[in-house]
């Protein structure tokens, strides 16, 4: 049985940086390095905090403990109470006070402990954080980032495996992104923090310990760009073609990107050439990239962990049909969680999109 205990002792997955307490290590990092996704987010947070001392972290147990996933490991030690704030146990309070701090120029980065615990903050996120810029006619920017370890596959108890991204994407004013690789995690967390807009940053928790190469120079160069105009919002909003193919397009994001790539591999053995698109951003949805691919392949499957019904795949499917209808050989198919609450852990691998279910959908669209 998979458990939460699989994590290593520190998030960085590398020897702790030798920096004097209170004195953040100035980042002369070798490029590229192998990092876990959790380590990449940790490094990205550190880089953002070094870049701008208005950046601060808020959340439950993110201080001495380093967060239940250790993503903030070491940051409290190096940046202190004032910038790594263990908060009272109240999610609405965290988001609400972050809004107030952002109004004074701070860039709060909130950690919600688990996906299922974001809902007490739903009102603050939906009616305040999302709408303040509009309400104020642009006078108030709220560069708040809300990090949410999300999705399942870790054998957890209720409320610890949910995928609520579509519940936020319907609300204008929020940006919703989800990285699928350590490189994107490292880059996108910094772009999210630099963005003047509120960003919901969904971290696929089952992928926290996957390793990958991280080149730290790219995002640094982009954010250093003298113009000051490059906040990274645009970069993190673009989908990525994770694998080129010509027969069918499989669209995924966050936790399901690896699955889509696996499916492409298996399909290739069967002679089907799958293009995989990693959306990266759910709001805005980079439908241009997907539609371009759909026009090429004529077949699209979208895969996410959230329940299919009223999920983000519905929006994607609608847009592809609207914009590429006459290029399609088959309807866009969706592979997602079922229309039930997230079930007990023994069922989760039946509940979640699996390699077989993705391949089944690929076969179905290929049948036309």
């Amino acid at each position: 049985m998979t458990t939460l205990d699989e994590r290593p002792a520190t998030a960085s997955g590398q020897p702790a940086t030798a920096s004097a307490p209170g004195k953040p290590a100035s980042a002369a990092r070798p490029a590229p390095t192998t990092m876990t996704m959790a380590g990449a987010i940790n490094a990205g947070l550190r880089a953002a905090m070094e870049r701008d001392d208005k950046t601060l972290l808020m959340g439950e147990d993110i201080g001495a403990l380093g967060g239940v996933f250790r993503v903030t490991d070491g940051l409290h030690k190096d940046f202190g109470d004032d910038r790594v704030m263990d908060t009272p146990l109240a999610e609405s309070g965290i988001v609400g006070t972050a809004i107030g701090m952002a109004m004074r120029g701070y860039r709060p980065v909130i950690e919600i402990q688990f996906d299922g615990f974001i809902f007490p903050a739903y009102d603050q996120i939906t009616t305040q954080l999302a709408k303040m810029h509009y309400r104020s006619g642009g006078a108030i920017q709220l560069p708040v980032v809300i990090r949410v370890p999300f999705a399942g596959g870790i054998g957890a108890v209720e409320h610890h495996s949910e995928s609520p991204e579509a519940l936020f994407a319907h609300t204008a004013g929020l940006r919703i992104v989800s990285p699928a690789t350590p490189q994107d995690a490292f880059d996108m967390i910094q772009q999210a923090i630099a963005s003047p807009d509120p960003v919901m940053f969904f971290e696929p928790k089952a992928r926290y310990w996957d390793k990958g190469e991280v080149d730290p120079t790219r995002v640094k160069a982009q954010l250093d760009a003298a113009s000051g105009a490059s906040t990274g919002t645009a970069e993190m909003s673009r989908a990525r073609v994770a694998r080129e193919g010509s027969d069918v397009t499989v669209v995924a994001y966050g936790p399901t990107v690896r699955l889509a790539l696996q499916a492409a591999q298996v399909a290739a053995d069967d002679g089907t050439d799958v293009e995989v698109i990693d959306l990266r951003s759910i709001s805005p949805l980079d439908s241009d990239t997907v539609v371009t691919s759909a026009r090429k392949t004529g077949r699209v499957v979208v895969v996410h962990e959230a329940p299919t019904s009223f999920g983000s795949g519905a929006e994607l499917s609608s847009r592809v049909h609207e914009q590429a209808f006459f290029h399609l050989h088959a309807p866009v198919l969706r592979v997602g969680g079922f229309s039930t609450p997230y079930p007990g852990a023994v069922f989760e691998h039946d509940y979640l999109p699996s390699l077989d279910r993705v391949l089944d959908a690929v076969d179905k669209v290929m049948a036309h």
Binding site: D82, T87, P88, A90, S92, G93, V95, G96, T97, A98, I99, G100, M101, A102, M103, R104, G105, Y106, P120, D123, Q124, T127, Q128, K131, H133, Y134, R135, S136, G137, G138, A139, I140, Q141, A172, G173, R175, S195, P196, D197, T231, T233, A234, S237, S283, P284, L285, D286, S287, D288
Partner: protein, 376 residues
């Protein structure tokens, strides 16, 4: 009024009696003694102006010029008294009835009506006035106020000892709001982080139709005790006491001693909004009773008794009020609908593909009508 309940008058700080006599108060006199006749006249003027404005807005609503109006009638004492205790560096988070406070923050009251004519959701630049936008979701802004105060402390704008620098935040909300979880969380965060914030509750005895007894069995001020925040009950229809108590609270907060909760006991003389019908839930006699405790009349009685309210000054303020009413009328009536494409502005600070695409579509769509017109 049940003894000890939220409608009791136990322990209310009062510096002016209902008939306008100055009474002594050991703790709070020092916070009122600095008030000159000019200061008091300024308060009287502000109360008078905001009431005149309020009446004008009400009639504009009746005439169909505004979708809705929310009166501050009856609460001018609490609002002007506390507003006059603020410094420039303090920052206010109002709810939606704080037109009196808006006035003291230099907001042009007429501009407030843009919201109620449906032109925009916010009608002033908060940073300019140190006065945040109105918040309509009950209690939400108590947390924003607390966060803002936490940030002021981080920025060293508290307890520096420099009076030109030290500031605090005041969050205004109602008796009903105190039941919201967000307000409770705000009290907790404020207390735990020692935030320089004053929670100013106007207990106007009603949340729309519901008596404050629906929100609490004990005085609203007791909410502070749950988290160890010092609290005071003040007669909100006594502008001088409201002022003194707020001044004390602000000094407490600015000097780094943490949050304070003030309950200003007052009465909403009008309907909840122009959509409301108080005859359904409260007796006329009660309104009558409170009319006799009017905050403006009270200060007027005092200033008259001390001979500090000259006829000239009255005439001047009356003229000012009339002018404000006229300007309100003319301005509001002259407001036209702005360019429709503006509804797509400011959803995000940086471009967002969905919004851009929809704006472009709508632009084409609108133009297509214009084109049709043109070709006809």
């Amino acid at each position: 009024m049940s003894a000890g309940g939220p409608l009791s008058t136990d322990g209310l700080v009062q510096l002016l009696t209902a008939d306008g006599q100055r009474t002594a108060h050991e703790q709070f006199d020092p916070y009122a003694d600095h008030l000159t006749a000019d200061d008091l006249r300024a308060m009287w003027r502000d109360m008078t102006l905001v009431r005149a404005f309020d009446k004008e807005a009400t009639s504009l609503q009746r005439q169909g010029e505004l979708g809705l109006w929310v009166q501050s009638w009856g609460q001018e004492g609490a609002q002007i008294g506390s507003g006059h205790a603020l410094n420039g560096q303090d920052f206010v988070f109002p709810s939606y009835r704080e037109h009196g406070v808006a006035l003291t923050r230099g907001v042009d009251l007429v501009e407030v009506l843009r919201i109620f004519r449906g032109l925009q959701h916010g009608a002033w630049t908060p940073a300019e006035h140190h006065f945040h936008l109105y918040t309509l979701v009950i209690g939400s802004h108590a947390l924003h106020a607390t966060g803002y105060a936490m940030a002021m402390a981080k920025d060293g704008l508290v307890a520096s000892g420099d009076p030109a620098k030290d500031g605090a935040v005041v969050a205004y909300f109602g008796d009903g709001a105190t039941s919201q979880g967000d307000v409770a969380e705000a009290l907790t965060f404020a207390s735990v982080y020692d935030a320089p914030v004053v929670f100013f509750v106007q207990n106007n005895q009603y949340a729309i139709s519901e008596s404050a007894t629906r929100q609490s069995r004990v005085p609203i001020a007791d909410r502070g005790k749950g988290v160890g925040i010092p609290s005071v009950r003040v007669d909100g229809n006594d502008v001088i006491a409201s002022h003194a108590v707020t001044r004390w609270a602000l000094e407490h907060a600015r000097s780094g001693q943490g949050p304070v909760l003030i309950e200003a006991f007052t009465y909403r003389m009008g309907a909840h909004t122009t959509s409301d019908d108080p005859t359904r839930y409260r007796p006329k006699a009660e309104e009558q009773l409170w009319a006799e405790r009017d905050p403006i009349a009270r200060l007027e009685a005092y200033l008259t008794s001390t001979g500090e309210l000259s006829d000239d000054f009255r005439t001047e303020v009356e003229a000012e009020a009339k002018a404000l009413g006229e300007r309100t009328r003319t301005t509001v009536r002259a407001w036209t609908k702005p360019d429709t494409l503006g509804m797509f502005d400011h959803v995000y600070a940086e471009p967002h593909a969905s919004v851009e695409a929809e704006r472009a579509w709508f632009d084409r769509y609108q133009r297509s009508f214009a084109d049709q017109e043109a070709t006809r």
